[in-house]
Amino acid sequence: MILELMIALTAGAAMFGTGLYGALSQTNLVMIIMGVELILAAALVNLVAFWRYLHPEEPAAQMFVLIIMAVMAVEMTVGFGIAIARFRSRGSVEMEEARELKG
């Protein structure tokens, strides 16, 4: 049982590493959002794995995961909306060129 947990955690850690790398290394807004989504998905994998390992009889974690997936969909919608708007106005979604948010 512990083995399955280890496998799931390893997969989660790999996903998290991939997502982190993608978010930090890419300059394209779409790619950054995808990296962030990967990090979130890794977190969900970990959540599901620990639920299965520790409290499989409780349904609350499943509901929690479902709500987070809905929130991820909304978040991606907003992020891509911004990306489309930026692309329309500037013709590019390269984040090295976007310094307007400098304080």
């Binding site: 982190l20 930090l24 300059t27 950054i32 976007a98 948010l101 304080g103």
Partner: protein
């Protein structure tokens, strides 16, 4: 009782009616006077049988009383008679005066007041009537108040008599207090010291009203009034009030008071006689003569024979009113009363002059005219008196002077230019002739009068009439043949000035008053100085104390101010040096920190993400190392 009411109310009502209606004053006045005369005659007849009395409600336990004894009834009759004929005369004299309604109204009120005084049965009534007389005489003397000097003469007369009235008040209240009743007949039983003191007080009142030395000056000045007023107030009314008061109270007066009365009367008779002799104005001469004749009456009272005074008063009332009425006619003719102006006025009117001369001879005491009898009675009384050494020479000198000044007046009126013939004056002549007839013939009724009064005078021996006759004729001869300057010699100037006692007030009251006032003033000055010193010292001390307190307070205030300033300065330095520095330092640091923090805000997403990762990494490290902290 009815006659009593008639005597008083007839003149009162007619006077008030005249003043209210201001129409037909002569007719109303004569009606009132005639009714009053009828009342007085009836009263006299009734009183000869027995006393008539009326008690009216007045003060508690002190009802107002009117009483008609033979004495008071005779006086009322005299007043009514003289008033009636003077008013008859006045209808002619005042014919042209636009204010005659006021004149006749006031005259009748005056007569009412006099009747009230004469018939008063208690002191309260007497005081009231006495004051009314003073007030009415003020109105009458000041009748021509528009003319120069008249108002002051009226005021002077009023003030003189009014101030002497104080004696009457004191005397009357003393008598009421001692006797316990206000009825005059009840108070006459008083003897001893109260009687003496009250008698002297009453003498003062009588001196004021009857113009005795030294209060004689007002009477001559009162000539400013119309002649009928002079005739009335000199004969039977105002001036008579003083003598009447003393005659009525004579039974009470002890020897000391009688002596004082006699001496005052005698001195007045001589001094005012000299003044009359030196006088250069006919009416003023007659006025001085009035005071002189009342002096003789006071001599009679002082000699203890008030009946003689009463007889002389009656005779004098008729004589003096005749003389004044005659003088009034001459005054009308010549527009003045100065003896120079009137020289020869008698020749223009022989009839009036005859009447004037008869009255003058009567006053001088020529038989068988009225004053011969009364003056004989006075001389006899003075001769028989215990105080004869003082009273007799004064009475004789007064009588001689009477003849002398009347002789002088007759001579002045008779010698000189007659001037043009005059229009007849019927009313004045009627009024005057009746009074002259009375002046001539009254003497024969004196015997009957004494009988009615129940006090018959002992008939003097042959010596007294001889003395009286000699004195009268001698006086007349002196006055006719010698000028006053030769008679008086060095006395002329002071006599013309009314002697230094003129005005009485001057020497007797004014100067002492002034010296008292000066003494009071000096005393007050000293008191004031002492007061000022005291107050100054007190004030200075208090001020110094207050000043010191004030200084302390001032210093304290300054100290508080300084402390406040110091506190303020400390607060300010605290504010600038500490709080401000701290706040500004904080602000500066915050600004610097914000500037530094700003640098993190590159705006590049991946850098932000990297920072986020670093932060998470730090948190992870903190969390992972947490078990090792404790």
């Amino acid at each position: 009782m009815n006659f009593l009411a008639l005597t008083l109310l007839a003149p009162l009502l007619s006077g008030l009616t005249i003043l209210a209606l201001r129409r037909a004053p002569e007719a109303l006045a004569l009606a009132g006077a005639v009714l009053g005369l009828i009342g007085a005659v009836g009263l006299f007849i009734a009183a000869s049988d027995g006393t008539v009395q009326a008690v009216l409600p007045g003060l508690p336990d002190m009802p107002l009383r009117l009483v008609a004894t033979p004495l008071t009834a005779v006086l009322a009759l005299v007043v009514a008679t003289v008033a009636g004929f003077v008013l008859t005369y006045a209808t002619g004299y005042m014919a042209g005066d636009p204010e005659k309604a006021r004149f006749f109204g006031t005259m009748l009120l005056f007569v009412t007041a006099m009747q009230g005084l004469v018939l008063a049965g208690d002191w309260i009534m007497l005081l009231a009537a006495w004051e009314m007389i003073g007030f009415a005489s003020y109105l009458l003397i000041g009748f021509w108040h528009g003319r120069a000097g008249v108002a002051s003469a009226a005021t002077r007369a009023f003030l003189y008599t009014r101030s002497a009235d104080l004696g009457l008040y004191l005397g009357a209240f003393l008598l009421i207090g001692v006797a316990g009743t206000s009825e005059i007949s009840g108070t006459l039983a008083i003897t001893g010291a109260p009687a003496l003191i009250a008698g002297l007080f009453l003498l003062v009142a009588a001196m004021g009203k009857s113009a005795q030395v030294p209060l004689q000056d007002w009477l001559q000045r009162a000539m400013a009034g119309p002649t009928p007023v002079s005739a009335l107030l000199h004969s039977a009314t105002l001036v008579a009030a003083g003598a009447i008061l003393l005659i009525r109270t004579a039974p009470m007066l002890p020897g000391g008071a009688l002596l004082a009365i006699g001496i005052v009367g005698g001195l007045t008779a001589v001094i005012t006689g000299l003044i009359a002799l030196a006088e250069r104005d006919l009416k003023r001469l007659l006025a001085a003569s009035t005071a002189s004749q009342y002096g003789l009456m006071l001599v009679a009272i002082g000699a203890g024979v008030p009946i003689a005074a009463l007889l002389h008063l009656i005779a004098h009332a008729a004589i003096k009113s005749s003389l004044f009425l005659g003088a009034g006619v001459f005054q009308h003719d010549r527009e003045g009363t100065g003896l120079d102006t009137l020289a020869g006025a008698g020749r223009a009117r022989p009839g009036i002059f005859a009447g004037f001369a008869i009255a003058a001879l009567a006053l001088a005491g020529i038989p068988p005219l009225a004053a011969f009898f009364s003056k004989d009675a006075i001389i006899a009384a003075a001769l028989a008196s215990t105080a004869a050494p003082w009273l007799l020479p004064l009475a004789l000198a007064g009588s001689v002077l009477t003849g002398t000044y009347m002789g002088r007046a007759l001579k002045v009126l008779w010698t000189g230019e007659a001037g043009p013939a005059r229009t007849p004056v019927p009313f004045m002549a009627i009024g005057m002739s009746v009074l002259v007839a009375l002046a001539a013939g009254l003497g024969f009724s004196f015997g009957a009068l004494e009988h009615v009064l129940g006090a018959e005078i002992e008939k003097p021996g042959w010596i007294v009439p001889v003395i009286g006759l000699a004195v009268g004729i001698g006086g007349l001869a002196l006055g006719w043949f010698f000028a006053p300057a030769r008679l008086l010699g060095p006395l002329l100037a002071p006599a013309q000035n009314g002697f230094t006692v003129a005005g009485g007030m001057d020497g007797l009251i004014l100067r002492p008053s002034l010296s008292i006032a000066a003494a009071c003033e000096a005393f007050e000055q000293r008191l004031l100085a002492a007061q000022i010193g005291l107050i100054r010292n007190l004030g200075l001390g208090a001020a110094r104390l207050v000043d010191r307190g004030d200084g302390q307070l001032f210093k304290f205030s300054i100290w508080i101010g300084q402390q406040s300033l110091r506190l303020g300065r400390g607060t300010r330095s605290m504010d600038t040096n500490r709080i401000d520095v701290a706040i500004f330092g904080l602000v500066r640091r915050i600004t610097a920190a914000s500037t530094r923090a700003r640098r993190l805000q590159s705006g590049l997403i991946h850098r932000e993400l990297a920072l986020t990762v670093i932060g998470i990494g730090l948190i992870v490290i903190v969390l992972l190392t947490a078990p090792h902290y404790f």
